[in-house]
Each structure stands twice: as C-alpha cells, then as structure tokens.
C-alpha cells in the first residue's frame, strides 16, 4: 500500500499539447474533457483572451485562448485544434484552446525542474516548471495561475 502511494506521488501524468513549435504539459488531474473544435459564441466586451463560450452538453463553458493569454499570435483553427476542458478543484469549468494534442506522458519527479523565477516576467505565473521527456522539453502549465483573473 505504501509502495503504491509513493509511486503516485512521484510520477505525474501530463497531457502534452502543441502551441506553435512548443510543447506544453497539463497535469491530467485538472482535465475534465478534450473535445474537437466546435462553434464558439463570441461574448462582447470581455477580456481579449476569451474567445467566447461553448455549449458543453448543456453547460456554458468559457473558452480561453492560451495563445492570447501568452501574447502569442492569434489561433488559427485547423482540424487538429482541440478544446481542453479544465475543471480546477471545486471550481467552475473553463476551457482552453490548443493547436493540437500530442500524447500523454508520465514524468517522474526527477524529470521536473522548477523554472527560476525573477518575479518580473508574466510567464512565470503561467509556467512554473519544465519537464524532460526523451530529450524534449515540456513546459508544464500552472493551471491556477492561468485561470486567475485580476
């Protein structure tokens, strides 16, 4: 019993998504659902990084563009574009748009390195650590930082 517990705390599964040429990882525990691109209804007069809302089986879920949140170029919708529905602990659902979903990886604690934070860069709030996987680097998204609205 103790053994398995240890294992769980040491390895975390992440969904790896692509944004442009970079890879980002989202902790699987936050993920409620991954759906194909569907019609996003624009909501006027809101934060620019919100693309609008979608109907997720009768529920209204706001869709955030990670690209816009990170000040990257605006999304280009392709048939690989996915909407990742995130359910943070005890909070309302929120969805994020990604270029594509690549794979699920398991990262051991040793493979994860904290990003050095100088406290100035906005991005430090969104990405707190980097994972190493088969030679590639995955920026791990800090979901709580991303959904925090000032």
């Amino acid at each position: 019993m103790d053994e398995t517990n240890k294992l769980e705390t040491l390895t975390n599964q992440y969904i790896v998504v692509n944004l442009g040429s970079e890879q980002y990882g989202i902790d699987i525990k936050y993920i409620d659902n991954i759906v194909r691109l569907q019609k996003i209804t624009r909501v006027p007069k809101v934060q620019s990084f919100f693309k609008g809302v979608i109907n997720l089986r009768g529920e209204i879920v706001p869709v955030m563009s990670i690209r816009k949140r990170f000040d990257l170029e605006d999304d280009v919708y392709t048939d690989k574009t996915r909407i990742i529905v995130i359910k943070p602990d005890q909070q309302e659902k929120i969805a994020i748009l990604v270029d594509s979903v690549k794979e699920v990886v398991s990262l051991e604690e040793d493979d994860i390195e904290k990003v050095h934070s100088d406290g100035k860069d906005e991005m430090n709030k969104y990405i707190t650590s980097v994972g190493k996987n088969q030679g590639g680097l995955i920026s791990l998204l800090n979901i709580n930082g991303i959904i925090e609205m000032q």
């Binding site: 209804t41 909501v43 007069k45 919100f50």
Partner: protein
C-alpha cells in the same frame, strides 16, 4: 446521532410557529374572548417550547415556557387579555425571533437571557394568579418522589428484555465492581414530533452520568424512529438512581420515566427479567407539563446551565454550523413531477421502439413520439419551476404586527389590508422581497398617512388605510403598496431637491412631475421634516429600488396630492426562465427579454434625426433615442444583399418611463429560454450581457440586458 441534523427542521418550524403566534396574537387583541385563538396560541407556544428543549436551547425554552404559563392562565380565564399583555407577548415574540436569528447564524442561541421580559411576564402572572399559585407547587414534580411507591405497581407494564451474552457479562462486571446498574423506562409524550431526537437527548443525558449497555429497541432503531413512544435503557453508572432519573426527566416532552436498580445478573431467559423487586428503589415521576407553575420554571432555570452546556456541544461539533437553504415542497407538486418523469420514460421507450423499426413509413409514429416527448418536457419544466415557487404569504405575514407597532410608535390610527397572499413567487425573490416591502409599508405609514387631525379636517376616516395587494400579471407578479394618505407633494420634493442641490433651477423648470417623483428614488433623499426611527433617514426608497432591480423587477409610483399614493413593484415570476425575443445581428444571435420590449417598428433610414449629434426617431409624437447594437457589441459588419427598402428594424424597449430603440438586423422570433450564467471567469464589466442560453440546435445565444442600454 446528532441534533444538528434537525436544526433545519427546527428553524423552519419555529419560523412557522412564530408567525402563527404573531397572527393569532393580533386576533386575540381584537377578540380577547376568542377561545379558538387562545387554544391556537397555546398550542404554538407549547410546540415552540418543546422544540427548543429538544434542541437544547434552554433560554429559548425558558422564555416560551413562561409564555405558555401566561397563555394557560388566559385559557383558564384567570387573566384577562389587554393591550399591555399583548405588548409584552409581542416583545416575547421579538426576543424569540432574535434567538432564532442567532441560532440560524451560529447554531447556538446566544447568551441573552431576556430577564426583564421574563420579569414582566412573571409580574403579570403574580397579579393575575396569586391564589392559583399557592395551590400549585404541590404538583411540582420535584416534590413528587413521596408519592412514588404508590405508583410502583405500574412496574408490571414493562416488557421484558432479551439480553445477549456480552451484555449480561457487562452487567455482571459492573455488579462485581459495585457499580450500579439501572433499568430506565422512558415514555415520550405522544404529541412529540421528533421522537428520535428526544431519545437521543435521553441517551446523551445518561451517557454523561454513566454508560449505556443496552437499549430496547436497539439504538439504531431508536435513531430511525422505529419505536412507539416507549423505550428502555439499561445503563451502568456510579451516580445515584435519583440523579440519573432526574437527568432523563430534564429532557422535555418526556412523559414518564421509570427507573429501577438491577441487582442480579439477568439470565438469558427473558422471564427471569421481571424479578427486580418493585420495592427496590423504584422512583416514578410523572411530569404533567401543562400543570407546571412558575415556581417550577424558576427551579428549572437553575438547573439549566449544566444542561445548556450539554446542549451546546451538539451543534458546535459539526463543521457546517450555518444552515443550508431549503425549500419545503408541497407533496402534490412532487407527485406531479414524478408522474411527468414516468411519462418521460414512456415517451423515451416509444422513441426507442419507433427508431428500431424505422422504415420509411414509420416516420409518422416517430414524429408523434417526438411531439409527445416535447409536451412532457414542457410540463416537466413548468412543474420543476413550480417547486421553487412559494406564496408571498410567507413574507406578508409579519406585516400586520409591524403596522400594529407603528400605530403605537407614530401615534396614528391605521389598518393594513392584504390581498393576494397566495400569489406565488420564486424562492429567491421571496427571500429578498421582504425588506423592500417593509420599507414601502413604513413609508406609507410614516410619510403617506396624515395625522389624525388632518385626516378629520379633510373629511377622511381618522383611521388610515394601507393596502398591500399582490397579483399575477402575465409573466410577472405585481405587488402594490397603497395608502389613502397625503400623496406625494411634488412641489415640496422640487423645493427640497433644489435646496439639496440635487437639481439645478434650470432643470427644475423642465422636469415633469414624474421626473420629480423619480428623485425620491435617488440615494440620500428624504422629505420627512422630522427624522423618526421609522423612516426619514434618507435610506429607503433608493435601497428599495436597487434591491428590486437586482431581482430583475422595477418600481413605479402613482400619486395624487391629498388622496394617496400607490407604489407598484413588478417582479419577474421566475428568475431562471424568461420569454425572450430572438434577434440576429451580423452572424450572431441575441435574446432580449420580452418584458422590456414595448413594440417593434419598421423604420425608414430617412426617419432618423439627429439631436445633439445623437440619433433619434420621432415615433408617434415621442422622441426616442436610437441605439446601434452592432456598434455597441462590436459586431463585425456582414455583407448585406443590397438593402432594397432601406428600412431598419427597431425594437422599442422601456425602462420605467424611458424608451430607447435598438436597431437589429433581423428578428428570429419569440422563444422561452433558460438563463445560464457566463461563469465567474469572464469579466463582464459592461453588464450588457446578462447571461447565455442554449438554443434548440445546441448553439449558444447571449442574453442582452436591455436595462443597461436605456
């Protein structure tokens, strides 16, 4: 087992009983001889006392107990009802309401003893019942043990108990160690509502003094209320039998406690059980609550602190101290729901079978099933909404008493007439509407109604009339607060506004009477010359207005000087579903609540005029500003196929008296929509979008709050 699970029921029922009391007290004041009313009051007070006792709220119990005594004297004709007495009783009610409020917030009754109210009640009893008091102490339960042996023959009523082996061992152990083993038979009052809770308190009381070995029926059954009115507990305790008995008796609504000491280890055969000798330290006490005198009550309070501690422990233990919101639902409404759900299942099954055999010629059956399904879901929908509805009575009940208080405070004679109390509103609205209505009533009483002399001079009935009328009007509910008083003096309001600098003299020139009256709803504007504690601090109408608008409603006033005024509050029937007009702007769809829409006009672009460089139209003599929704909502213009007629579709909306015209591209039609929130992430500062809804094809449409545009 834990009393906190009863807290919700307790609060609900106490509220009901308090309302009952208040209503009947008012009747009692009018008809002091009305025996039915007195009985009602007595019953309500008695239940209150019982419930407070169950929950371990000793102070509350004490106060209700005192009230009960007074009512008992009234019922016996020993005390005459007069206005003083009713006053005291009303102050009792207030005190009880305070307790309840404290309990609701902290699940504890607080520490206010309300000594002076109790003292006043006592003095009333002393004055009215001096001879009675002398003879009563004889019935005090505390003095009863002397009679006990006489009743000891009742012993044989007890049923026998089967013991398990380990229980026998436990008894044996205790006896070996010279610890007392008692058998306690408890009979719960037949009128008791929460038997299990009483039993729990009995267990708790015993556990404080010793240990429970066995109960019959089992503890689980007792907890599930699987017992009639009697149960039996075998316990070990180092305390004396009297002390244990007394502790059990202290639990209210316990009718009878019989206890006996067990000195021999019981055999497994139940017959052997009956052998405890009746002569052996049997005490039996009957507690006839209704005969209790004030003397008993004081004796009881002395014991209270010890028990109050015990009572406090229970509610403090669990994490959720604050009571969750609940709706009590009429069984009938639930039955309808259940029927509809079963119909839904039938309809679904019909669909399944229709699709299984879906050859071309079966499509008619398919369509029929879909229509059926549609009908059921619509009904289901309506019924579910009805579950949330509550009659407005729940808030209006407290007003007669308030008006009565105001009669004394303001020294004005007045009467309140309430109609349409059975009009139903959504629970959320009901919860919020109480205060605004109270403000309006106070306003009518204080500012509206003239003093008696003025009324007589004007040839009016010296008793002022206030009316509270509620009725349903289409998709909304209207509540009117009307009085036959002075009405609003527009000139006075104008002067006051000028004096306060709310408006400039130029503005005052052009303002209509209606505009002036609207000033009353501005923050910190009060025309009362004297600030009374009833109203006149300048917080009132503006708060009322804000609150009502927050509920999606609106308020307007009709007034005639010297004849009276009428405040009309209009509220949406429910908050979750609205009738809406669907419109198209560019490629986007929006919903506008039908309530705000006046008319829809087809207007030629040439009819648009400019006033102060703003677009307006002149519609049948009224100048209405035009709002281009597409620019407000940043909608990307779409290529229009040549506007051959050059016409604009304009939706005329209203907010109070103000009108505005919204330009839309196309009308889709009227639809009933379910309002959904956009959630907390989206920062919707502009408030133009009040929510979203899901259309039949699964697409999301946003709901426009027209009020923010006018």
């Amino acid at each position: 087992m834990d009393v906190s699970q009863y807290l919700e029921i307790f609060i609900d029922e106490t509220t009901e009983h308090l309302q009952d009391l208040s209503q009947h007290l008012l009747i009692l004041e009018e008809e002091p001889e009305n025996a039915d009313t007195i009985n009602e009051i007595f019953r309500a007070a008695h239940s209150l006392k019982g419930m407070a006792g169950t929950m371990g709220f000793k102070r509350m119990q004490h106060l209700t107990h005192m009230m009960e005594n007074v009512f008992s004297e009234i019922r016996n004709g020993k005390v005459a009802v007069n206005s003083d007495l009713v006053d005291i009783l009303f102050s009792c009610l207030e005190a009880l309401e305070d307790y309840l409020a404290t309990i609701q917030q902290t699940s504890d009754e607080g520490t206010e003893d309300n000594e002076d109210i109790i003292k006043r009640l006592n003095s009333f009893l002393d004055g009215g019942t001096a001879p009675k008091k002398a003879e009563k102490p004889a019935q005090k339960p505390e003095e009863k043990p002397a009679d006990a042996p006489k009743d000891a023959t009742n012993q044989n009523v007890k049923q026998n108990i089967k013991f398990e082996e380990f229980e026998i061992n436990a008894i044996k152990d205790a006896l070996d160690k010279q610890i007392n083993v008692y058998r306690i038979d408890v009979k719960v009052d037949e009128s008791c509502v929460l038997k299990a809770a009483r039993a729990f308190l009995v267990f708790k009381a015993i556990e404080e003094l010793g240990e429970v070995i066995k109960s019959d029926p089992s503890a689980q059954d007792i907890e599930d209320e699987k017992f009639d009115f009697e149960f039996c507990v075998i316990c070990v305790s180092a305390e004396s039998i009297d002390k244990v008995t007394k502790a059990v008796e202290n639990v209210s609504e316990i009718k009878e406690v019989k206890s006996s000491q067990i000195t021999e280890v019981p055999k497994e055969q139940p017959e052997e059980q009956a052998q405890e000798t009746p002569a052996e330290a049997v005490t039996e006490k009957k507690e006839e609550k209704k005969a209790e005198t004030t003397a008993v009550a004081t004796a009881k309070t002395e014991k209270a602190p010890a028990k109050a501690d015990a009572g406090k422990k229970a509610p403090a233990k669990p994490g959720k101290a604050v009571v969750s919101r609940s709706v009590r639902v009429d069984i009938e409404k639930l039955d309808v729901l259940i029927n509809l759900v079963s119909e839904l299942i039938i309809a679904k099954n019909g669909l399944v079978s229709a699709s299984n055999s879906s050859d071309g010629y079966n499509s008619q059956a398919f369509n029929e099933q879909i229509e059926y399904l549609e009908r059921v879901t619509t009904n289901l929908h309506e019924s579910v909404m009805k579950v949330r509805m509550m009659p407005i009575e729940t808030v209006t009940q407290k007003y007669p008493k308030m008006i009565r208080d105001l009669t004394k405070k303001l020294n004005k004679q007045m009467k309140l007439y309430i109609t349409g109390e059975d009009t139903e509103l959504d629970r959320t609205v009901i919860d919020e509407i109480g205060d605004p209505l109270m403000h309006l009533l106070r306003n009518s009483a204080d500012h509206g109604l003239e003093s008696e002399e003025v009324r007589i001079a004007r040839g009016k009935d010296p008793v002022g009339n206030i009316y509270l009328n509620a009725y349903q009007d289409g998709n909304s509910v209207v509540i009117e607060v009307k009085d036959d008083g002075n009405g609003i003096d527009v000139e006075k309001v104008r002067d006051k506004a000028l004096e306060k600098g709310t408006i400039t003299p130029e503005q005052a020139e052009v303002m209509t009477d209606k505009d002036i009256i609207d000033l009353l709803f501005r923050p910190s504007f009060s025309t009362a010359k004297v600030v009374s504690d009833v109203s006149g601090r300048g917080v009132g109408l503006d708060v009322v207005k804000t609150k009502i608008e927050a509920l999606g409603g609106n308020i307007d006033v009709e007034t005639k000087l010297t004849e009276g005024s009428c405040f009309r509050v209009r509220l949406p029937l429910t908050l979750a579903i609205i009738q809406a007009l669907m419109v198209e702007l560019g490629n986007e769809k929006y919903a506008i609540s039908l309530d705000t829409i006046q008319t829809i006009e087809d207007i030629s672009a040439d009819d648009i005029k400019y006033v102060q460089s703003k677009e307006v139209i002149n519609l049948r003599g009224t100048v209405i500003p035009i709002i281009r929704l597409d620019s407000i909502l940043d909608i990307e213009p779409v290529e229009k196929e040549d506007d051959e007629d050059n016409n604009l579709t304009v939706i005329i909306i209203s907010k109070g008296d103000k009108l505005a015209g919204l330009v839309v591209d196309r009308l889709i039609g009227q639809q009933e929509i379910v309002i959904k929130s956009l959630g907390k992430y989206i920062n919707n500062n502009s408030k133009v979008i009040s929510g979203a809804t899901i259309l039949g094809d699964g697409e999301v449409a946003l709901i426009l709050d027209a009020n923010t545009l006018v």
